[in-house]
């Protein structure tokens, strides 16, 4: 066999190798099936260490600081997005997220109204190998409760008082309004369309524009 290969010469031997590999390639399944898998321990660890979500107050801080090391993705439909969305957010419905062109080494924060769509997006992206995916804890509902309309605790301690004042300041930056404890709590109706009018004025100068994440994409591909 070896002697025969030697007699064949390197060029013919390589051609033979290419022929055999090519014949084998006929049976190749080159497109992987679209089943995603997430490592169990990885998921549980991320959950236990609270490394899978960002509390609304923290995200508000990032937006105010103008941090640009993450992409903020709004998973709701276009109408809801046009009605109200977080400053700097990009609108990507859940169905389009895998094809949107996010990079696997980017920090990605996803949100919707509640927790479930964001959790689905989290699982989908993690299953497809995206490393830094986070959900906005509690979604937009929690954002409204905690950031836009923070509640003054009843008979607050000085520490709580200070924290509330800080939250109230942040709420005003985002066009929200702090609530007093006596004002009937959750019953207060939140008028989001009125809020929309006031959001751009606070968001305009200091905050990066929505969709600004596009400029942070990787280098252009091609020759």
């Amino acid at each position: 066999m070896y002697g025969w290969l030697c007699k064949l010469g390197i060029n013919r031997a390589l051609a033979l190798l290419a022929f055999l590999l090519g014949a084998g390639a006929i049976f190749a399944q080159v497109y992987p099936d679209r089943t995603i898998s997430v490592h169990e321990a990885e998921l549980l660890t991320a959950s236990a260490r609270a490394e899978d979500h960002v509390p609304p107050a923290e995200l508000a801080g990032w937006i105010v600081e103008g941090r640009a090391d993450y992409r903020l993705i709004d998973l709701r439909d276009g109408t809801a997005f046009a009605d109200y969305h977080l400053p700097t957010a990009e609108n990507v419905p859940l169905t389009d997220i895998a094809e949107y062109g996010l990079l696997r080494n980017e920090k990605i924060v996803v949100y919707a109204d509640g927790d479930l769509p964001a959790a689905q997006a989290w699982l989908l992206l993690r299953g497809r190998g995206y490393q830094g995916v986070y959900t906005l804890q509690g979604g937009l509902d929690a954002w409204k409760d905690q950031v836009l309309f923070p509640m003054m605790p009843q008979s607050p301690s000085p520490e709580e008082q200070a924290r509330f004042e800080e939250a109230a300041h942040v709420a005003e930056l985002f066009g929200g309004q702090p609530r007093a404890a006596a004002s009937g709590g959750d019953a207060q109706l939140v008028d989001m369309s009125a809020l929309q009018a006031s959001t751009p004025t606070v968001a305009a100068p200091s905050l990066p524009a929505a969709g600004g994440g596009k400029s942070r994409r990787g280098p252009r591909e091609g020759c």
Binding site: A23, A25, P32, R104, N105
Partner: protein
């Protein structure tokens, strides 16, 4: 570890430049090894006396194709993330003709001219100066050329999608084409050599 490495976050923007540099050096080394740092060797292709360019380039195509196929089959490469250049057929024809004319006049293509310059050849250096000037000229005149760049847009096309033939069969077909091409190229070389002998002995 999955590929494409960059898209899976194995390295960032800065490291990708280092990776490109290392791959570029390797590419240049193999061009020089194949003799493509020499304009005479490259020009022999156009006169059919030495088919090395055809053989080396087609070998590279087959090697890369088989490697890609088997890596994807093993699940180490996600082909849906590989960047495909869209087809602009008018642009491709115009650009191909310009490139071919430049190749015949200058004796090099851009990659081989850099390899040639690296080995100290003056003609390679002049060629690199020419294509650097051309690059700057293109950048300056970009508004003029802009519309030409996207003429005849057919989107991303692949043989398996256009023909409906499964990937693996297309791959095998390309391998057969290459082997046939190599046999044919060797035959052409012999024929040209015999013709040259006949001409020189007639003198």
């Amino acid at each position: 570890m999955n590929a494409p490495l960059y898209k899976f976050g194995a390295f960032g923007d800065e490291t990708s430049l280092v990776v490109a540099f290392v791959i570029g050096i390797g590419f240049g080394w193999f061009l020089e090894r194949a003799g493509f740092g020499n304009a005479r060797k490259l020009m022999a292709q156009f006169y059919l006396t030495d088919m090395a360019v055809f053989k080396v380039m087609f070998s590279a195509v087959v090697t890369a194709m088989l490697g890609t196929t088997y890596l994807a089959w093993a699940g180490w490469l996600d082909l849906s993330l590989v960047y495909y250049v869209p087809t602009y057929w008018i642009t491709a024809i115009v650009g191909g003709l310009l490139m071919g004319v430049g190749f015949v006049i200058g004796g090099y293509c851009p990659g081989t001219s850099v390899a040639s310059m690296a080995t100290g050849r003056i003609d390679g250096l002049v060629y690199v100066g020419g294509f650097a000037a051309g690059t700057v000229g293109f950048a300056v005149g970009y508004p003029i050329f802009k519309d030409l760049l996207t003429m005849g847009n057919l989107g991303v096309l692949t043989l398996p999608e256009v023909t409906g033939v499964p990937w693996g069969i297309v791959a095998f077909g390309v391998v057969l084409m290459a082997i046939g091409g190599f046999i044919g190229a060797t035959w052409v070389e012999r024929w040209m050599a015999a013709k040259a002998d006949a001409t020189s002995s007639a003198d």
